[in-house]
Point group: C2
Chain length 331, copies 2
């Protein structure tokens, strides 16, 4: 690989001059510029990003840390950020915090050590104060789907509780009273919030929650299948289900299909949805939409603004939105 030195020699100038034409900085005579260009051409010269980063401590990359890679949700998240960043000409470095405070911090450190120009954090286990500490450093970052006090201008947030409440209230309005809940692992913040929505909606109708109506499961297809099965065993006469994730909903449908249960005739269902899995099912299921895609894109945009040194960025607010389809009937 030809280096800047080779180009300089061939063009009969100094390295500094080559560097100048490279970055379009300073004044250079047209003649020498041409000579340098020709030399670069001839040597098929390409600057080393590594050396440049070392010299400037900026790397033209941004880091993304997530808690998992598995599943449509994270795939979509990664892809979206990736695409948005490419527009900025930035590379994306992805790292995973393995569901613990320390591993999340470690991931962040690795990324900053690599001189990422910015960070997008979808971390669930770090404390708010950790994030606030981080904000004292020089690397700009945004937090995705998490509201951090004092970091509002870098938080891309969504009100999971309200979303859940709206979903369950819809069921309530349609006359359902015996409403099951397929909940995510309650150790996870957003899962807990979504469950809160269930509780609040019920309370607003003067109904207290019956624990035998709720099952906690992993946020995936099999989890949904099992949860639905458990609930139906305990409470065969439910009329509606509130599912806290689309993949769990797909799992529930596996059971419905297996048992010949009819929707919405026998059971109504409403679900969270991010990647439109719910519109592939038959009947298409009514959802509260959790717009991870748009939020990921927004996080990329906000980060870009931050990296450009813009002040007072106002992250877009994402409001829960009901998407009514064919899986809920009136009773």
């Amino acid at each position: 690989m030809a280096s800047i030195k080779d180009v300089a020699e061939l063009a009969g100038v100094s390295k500094a001059t080559v560097s100048r034409v490279l970055n379009n900085t300073g004044q250079i005579r047209e003649g020498t510029r041409a000579r340098v260009h020709k030399a670069m051409e001839k040597l098929n010269y390409r600057p080393s990003p590594l050396a440049k980063s070392l010299a400037t401590s900026s790397s033209n990359t941004v880091g993304l840390v997530v808690t998992s890679y598995r599943g449509h949700f994270y795939s979509e998240l990664m892809a979206e950020v990736q695409e948005e960043m490419e527009v900025q000409g930035k590379f994306l470095l992805v790292s995973r915090g393995k569901r613990s405070r320390s591993s999340e911090q470690e991931a962040i450190q690795r990324l900053t050590d690599m001189c990422c120009d910015g960070l997008i954090l979808h971390t669930r286990n770090m404390f708010d104060e950790d994030l606030v500490d981080l904000s004292k450093g020089s690397t700009p970052f945004v937090v995705l789907d998490r509201s951090v006090k004092d970091l509002e201008d870098r938080s891309i947030v969504y009100d999971h509780t309200l979303a859940g409440k709206m979903a369950v209230e819809h069921l309530l309005e349609k006359g359902h009273r015996k409403i099951a809940c397929i909940a995510g692992p309650r150790s996870r913040m957003t899962a807990a919030l979504r469950f809160d929505g269930y509780v609040q909606a019920l309370e607003s109708y003067g109904i207290s929650v019956d624990e035998s109506l709720v099952a906690e499961a992993d946020y995936d297809r099999l989890g949904g299948y099992r949860a639905m099965k458990d609930i139906l065993e305990r409470q065969p006469d439910i009329t509606a289900v509130y599912s806290c994730s689309e993949e769990m909903t797909v799992g529930a449908f596996d059971l419905f299909r297996e048992r010949g249960i009819n929707l919405p005739g026998d059971i109504s269902i409403i679900s969270f949805d991010s990647v439109s899995l719910c519109t592939m099912l038959t009947p298409q299921v009514s959802t509260v939409h959790f717009p991870i895609k748009e939020m990921a894109a927004e996080s990329a945009r906000v980060l870009t603004a931050l990296m450009h040194g813009e002040q007072d960025v106002q992250p877009q607010r994402f409001i829960p939105e009901l998407r009514l389809r064919d899986s809920v009937r009136e009773i």
Copy 2:
């Protein structure tokens, strides 16, 4: 940020010594080692990956180049490679070749400039000879889902034509004769191959292809919807459909749902499938499985072997496999 120099000074040794304890190379007295460690601790020292890369021309990252980020397929591909690489402690750098020979080559150059230790290429537009040229360089790489002559030991391949043939023959065996084909963009290699499978299967039954039975569409949901609509307009009395991608199948189902078309009563369908979208549909649709996930993982493993300097790696062969479910009826 503390550098190796700071550590050396604090520990009262030279930079070289610090470097040695860092990499566990050479012999060092226990006492000094301890002192160095303490100094590192105290300064919260972390080595700069950038400087290390510059010095060693290796970066602890691998590059992945794909043609798109959109859709479940690519998402899954990225996520799988990502996860597999993390096990090796490698970072992943993703870049996109925008469906042209030159942009794919450009992406590769950027990645090699960053001193990636290895490359995974899911490129469709470069020529075989480009790849062969590349193989003369020093960066190990593998090609995903493409068979390159003279590069068999780095090609993770799948027989799309055979897969398509098997799918259509299944339809044929069940008595179907008027079989529509929802094809991908024929400019794309694998789409063309899958279509070939259709042609071959038909020929083996002495049937010549009727172009009005086939529609070419984008490899996505909307494409499938439109293609299905077009075909039904021209040929309302088809009995079966061969769909070349799962997302197109989802789109076809959108139309079926809209029109109240019954499966497999009115129409039978068989589809390619990679991300199990087809098992979410009702009825679950019979498929030929294109195991992109496993192939992505295999590509990561083969690359790892290559990077470790192993010779004679034999990439696993992936054989098309029919997964019969409930979307095809006998007539």
